[in-house]
Amino acid sequence: MDFEFSSEQEMLRNESRKFLEKTCPLEKIREIMEDKKGFAPEMWKQVSELGWPALIIPEQYGGIGMTMVDLVVVMEEMGRALFPSPFLFNLMATFALLEAGSDEQKQKYLPAIASGECVATFAFAEPGDLVDIHGVNAEARPDGDSFILNGTKMFVGYAHAASLIIVPFRTSKKGKPEDGITLFLIDPQDPGVKTTLLKGIDLTRKNCEVTFTNVKVGKERILGGKDQGGPVFKKILNKGTIALCAEMIGGAEGVFAKTVEYAKIREQFGRPIGSFQGIKHPCAETYVEIELAKGLTYYAAWAFEQDLPDVDLSVSYAKAAISDAFTRAGMDSILIHGGVGYTWECDVHLFLRRAKWSEYTLGDATYHRERIAQLMGM
């Protein structure tokens, strides 16, 4: 039994951290924030050279073939640095291709994703705030050998910058909710696809609304077979959630490090504010909460790697834990910074914004606790 990261993984962590500290400091992030793209293409190129989009893609498709646990390491560092990029969504699209793509589809897209040339995204939400399979109501109607797509997808990360969107549509209303779902490969340039950039709380990440009005696509655009997309969709949500949890842990640690640092240098009443228990104790509590969430996230990643039966439960444990912990770390940080913490220039609000976005994305703590209750047989 060994629950520590390997020395290779520690190296990967150090290199990722060093790279982001150098290339993507908060001043740079503030520039990117103001830009419509929401990420820096030259930086995307650099991280592609480092192999990040290729991390979990097998070598035969131009990737590196690393594991979920390796991925967690890199995601944590991206979160710590507040790295603004389509990475998470690109990753979920990659999962989908790996899971359900034909060899031809994989050959077509994966090497391009691995090299950073193709930015892909995944549409997992719809209006109405339904999480999971119940949130797939946009319809794909067969029309001869083709399909006519109609509906709206919400909060599609970086759809405005992507050249591939993987979108679940309902192709049948028979059977269980997961039975009639089909995944489609969509080019944002397809006639009838409209992408609108949303203005969101997380300034370091861009989301879009994507509408489909009588979009006609051929059946070669189906990813993984008609009506077969439900289980794939669920799996991708799980995997994406783990990746998001890891990013959130990094974010929570990132903002918490700023809190602790400030508590050491800021003096009032002739001594560092960190010496007051009103500051010290919430810091200790946040530390414990983050440590607890880490184990849950690492375990979930490992459970996926090992294909263990408790994956669903593990994912929900992790998301429920870090959703609360990250927001708390962010809000406490602002309070502990005092007046300066409330300023636009102080970076901690960027983390709090990220925390809130992350909290509600892919199921908030309440959603995941209910899922835990179901899975534990309540």
Binding site: F3, E4, K280, E285, Y287, L292, L296, M378
Partner: protein, 403 residues
């Protein structure tokens, strides 16, 4: 990262399981120590002594201690496996001399001289010696280093005068590990000495104190001109603080405790399906479900944190401060569990064992009433938070008098 047992670990786990099956009577495996003790105290204690013998023969007492002193030399992970399997299969505690094995023994191993090891360790292994820990005083609890119980050296012995309080199992123990002040003029941490004192020495009076739950597990202990031979000093004179803080590399992951808590949660879940509130089974209540799920999640997190600490320790890294992290986590989730147990019973949670209409023999209420003892004993949550903030995060100490 690989959370599976290695082949050697898996083999050992199986060995422990087989051994328990062979050595622990069926009834014990089903009922566990506490129930056996409640139904047949004499029989249970008799078996416990026998159990100690078998464990000793098997080499599983002091399993993590070095081989030279009669221990098992086992790694933290192996110790954790032994503890975990024993708990899982309802075995009695790992050894009769619990404080001796868990806490005093390791200090003797670390700081004792050859004579002392020869003299004190066998009683701990055999279970013939019960130890208690005389640290806290009326004026020195969280601020332990301000303790006043005085020892003055007179030739070949120390003369001890003063008082200890909250001393668990002082009424059962024949030895006490005592912290005394030997140099009142030195800064407070530099004037403390550790003595091993025979509880039958003339001048010692111990009186049990009744706890809020009517149990009497701790005592106050008075010392009046008690003579303690100098050879019973553990470590050097005025170096007792280091001895008190010493921890050997024994397992501190707390994984066995999470197994106990898991059982509580499982019982709670099952009970919630049967008990109705407002005409509906409680397990259908969305708020109750949220709370149970949250507790379940925290419990799982605690177990995984334990595994992370264990792995760290297994690689020889320093985990001394991590026990404050696990303790805080355990306190949070344990309290939530007990409160949920009370929630479950609603107004019936007021009924105590022995009352008409009581549910589950009032076990949730008993747990609830015992809870503050766990919280306060061994350092309060406030103190644990200070430790985390100062030693792990590096925040500066508050205005506390550090002299």
């Amino acid at each position: 990262m690989d959370l599976k047992d290695s082949p050697a670990e898996a083999a050992f786990r199986q060995e422990v399981r087989d051994w328990i099956k062979e050595n622990l009577p069926q009834e014990w495996q089903e009922k566990g120590f506490r129930k056996m003790l409640a139904t047949d105290p004499f029989g249970a204690v008799g078996f416990f002594v026998e159990w100690n013998k078998r464990l000793l023969q098997k080499g599983w007492l002091g399993f993590g201690w070095p081989k030279e002193v009669g221990g098992g030399g086992a790694s933290p992970v192996m110790q954790a496996i032994l503890n975990e399997e024993m708990t899982r299969h309802n075995a009695p505690p790992l050894g009769v001399s619990l404080m001796g094995l868990g806490w005093v023994g390791p200090s003797i191993v670390l700081y004792g001289n050859e004579e002392q090891k020869k003299h004190f360790l066998p009683g701990i292994f055999n279970g013939t010696d019960q130890w208690c820990q005389g640290f806290s005083e009326p004026g020195a609890g969280s601020d332990l280093a301000s303790l006043k119980c005085r020892a003055v050296r007179q030739g070949d012995h120390y003369l001890v005068n003063g008082q200890k309080i909250w001393t668990s199992i002082a009424n059962l123990a024949n030895w006490i590990m005592l912290l005394v002040r030997t140099d009142p003029s030195a800064p407070k941490r530099n004037g403390i000495t550790c003595l091993m004192v025979d509880m039958t020495s003339p001048g010692i009076t111990a009186r049990t104190i009744k706890q809020m739950n009517r149990h009497e597990e701790y005592s106050e202990v008075f010392f009046e001109d008690v003579k303690v031979p100098v050879e019973n000093r553990l470590g050097e004179e005025n170096k007792g603080w280091q001895v008190a803080k010493a921890t050997l590399v024994f397992e501190r992951s707390g994984i066995s405790e999470t197994i106990e808590l898991d059982r509580g949660l499982e019982a709670l879940k099952e009970a919630s399906k049967k008990l109705k509130k407002n005409g509906k089974p409680l397990n259908e209540d969305p708020v109750f479900r949220q709370k149970v799920a949250q507790t379940n999640m925290e419990l799982r997190a605690l177990k995984l944190l334990g595994l992370r600490i264990l792995s760290k320790q297994n690689r020889g890294k320093d985990v001394r401060n991590d026990s404050s992290v696990t303790k805080l986590g355990r306190l949070n989730v344990g309290y939530k569990l007990d409160c949920l147990g009370m929630d479950l019973l609603g107004t019936y949670s007021q009924l105590l064992r022995g009352s008409d209409s009581v549910i589950d023999q009032g076990k949730w209420t008993n747990r609830f009433l015992a809870w503050p003892g766990y919280v306060i004993g061994g350092g309060t949550p406030h103190i644990q938070k200070n430790i985390i903030a100062e030693r792990i995060l590096g925040l500066s100490p508050d205005d506390r008098d550090e002299k």
